[in-house]
């Protein structure tokens, strides 16, 4: 469970090339980002990490590293 793995899954979920993302990418500023991507990220966190990301979590995060911090902390809490 590393941020590199997460970036790959995150990129796949929102249908962008993983090479275009870094931990510091402000993902909601990507030209292709829209509210449907929010659902795709929630679905990815559920399917790949078994955790529930909320709409509020997405609102509260800015960068890919922010959302990874939320997912990884929920994973840790679930253990």
């Amino acid at each position: 469970m590393t941020i590199d793995d997460f970036i790959g899954k995150f990129a796949f979920a929102i249908e962008v090339d993983a090479d275009t993302l870094t931990p510091d990418t402000r993902y909601k500023e990507l030209p292709s980002w829209d509210s449907l991507n929010t659902l795709a990220v929630i679905a990815m966190a559920d399917a790949d990490y078994g955790v529930t990301v909320t709409g509020r979590d997405i609102e509260a995060s800015a960068t890919v590293a922010d959302i990874w911090a939320i997912v990884s902390s929920k994973c840790a809490a679930a253990k």
């Binding site: 829209d34 509210s35 449907l36 929010t38 659902l39 795709a40 929630i42 679905a43 559920d46 399917a47 529930t52 990301v53 909320t54 709409g55 509020r56 997405i58």
Partner: protein, 353 residues
């Protein structure tokens, strides 16, 4: 035992208006956004009422079709329960108006229930329990909404999702009917996820007269106070995290295994939600019929609409587990048997009664 016993489902009918609204034609999304929306939600088109048609009109058509199919004398119906969030008027309850329009006897109890996407399991629980306890031989459970009349047309977070529909489920006391097992849940802490904030007494807003200035929501979308606000991401995470457990509890309470059910019927909110729930429960897609492609999210009526849109699957007796979830938050699941040929194909109607 979380079950209603001795009550059989005899017929399920659904009615929709004829007017089709296609995602591909929705003016407030760009063409590429329309494609992405359709791919993510599964919604290609929906049925939308013309001005003046109400949920009661759609439910009336569905109820008449159920009575005709069964050859039931209206005088034999002792309970009419309507579940809607789009009644004809605030007072009196629309179910009572429908009692008269359907020619049901005055010795028929009639009342409304205010629930949305969770209506089907709740309706089976309430109607079945009342009939069983009071010895009412026959009842009609009517469920429907005209959500298009609640949403601002430019609100792309709500308008392109919803379709209008009404339904009827005819229930009858029958000692030989298998039990209907239920799991029913609520969480009012999530009330903001889907809400019409204005028009009620708590809002302290002036009566809705169509002249209230548009207000800009926190999402930047201007809406009237009596428009519906839907926070899709909150609903999405609620549904995929809390609904599978409800379905599992209903299945467990039935004493049957998941593989003993022919079909899983889910509220039709979003293709991604339902794919996720079905995957968690181990139901392959051929055991999860859908209607969202052609009818959108038909709110309270989505489970009967999905049954009727796939009526050919129900020519033989089928075991079904169904789950509705959404506005409230309210969710629930029910397991039941549908006898052969009890599900009729969807009816088209623009009649206003």
């Amino acid at each position: 035992m979380n079950a209603v016993t001795g009550v059989a489902l005899r017929a399920v009918t659904a009615a929709t208006p004829t007017r089709v609204a296609r995602t591909a034609d929705y003016a407030y999304l760009e063409p590429d956004e329309r494609q992405r929306f359709q791919k993510a939600t599964g919604i290609a088109e929906r049925r939308i009422v013309a001005a003046g048609q109400c949920a009661s009109d759609l439910c009336l058509a569905a109820a008449k079709a159920a009575l005709a199919h069964l050859g039931w004398d209206p005088a034999s119906v002792g309970a009419l329960i309507l579940i809607t969030q789009t009644g004809d008027q605030p007072v009196p309850a629309t179910s009572i108006v429908l009692q008269d329009k359907l020619g049901l006897p005055s010795a028929c109890m009639a009342f409304d229930i205010n629930l949305g996407c969770s209506s089907y399991p709740y309706g089976l629980a309430v109607a079945g329990s009342v009939m069983r306890t009071l010895g009412i031989a026959r009842g009609l459970l009517l469920i429907g909404d005209v959500s298009s009349r609640l949403c601002a047309e430019h609100d792309k977070s709500a308008w392109p999702l919803f379709g209008d529909a009404g339904s009827a489920t005819a229930l009858e006391l029958d000692e030989s009917a298998p039990p209907i097992h239920l799991d029913l849940c609520s969480d009012g802490a999530g009330k903001e996820a889907i809400i019409i904030p204005g028009g009620g007494l708590a809002s302290r807003l002036p009566p809705v007269d169509g002249h209230i200035a548009d207000a800009i929501g926190s999402d930047g979308v201007p809406r009237r106070a009596d428009n519906l606000v839907l926070r899709g991401a909150d609903i999405f995470s609620f549904a995929i995290s809390r609904v599978p457990g409800s379905i599992q509890r209903a299945i467990a309470s039935s004493g049957r295994a998941a593989q003993d059910f022919d079909f899983l019927l889910l509220h039709q909110a979003n293709r991604m939600i339902n794919d996720t729930i079905a995957r968690k429960l181990g139901f392959a897609s051929d055991r999860v019929p859908t209607s969202i492609e052609h009818y959108g999210n038909t709110s309270s009526a989505s489970i009967p609409v999905t049954l009727c849109a796939n009526a050919a699957l129900f020519d033989v007796p089928r075991w079904v587990v169904a789950s509705g979830f959404g506005v409230g938050l309210s969710w629930g699941s029910a397991t039941f048997q549908l006898p052969a040929a009890a599900v009729l194909p969807c009816i088209d109607t623009d009649d206003v009664h």
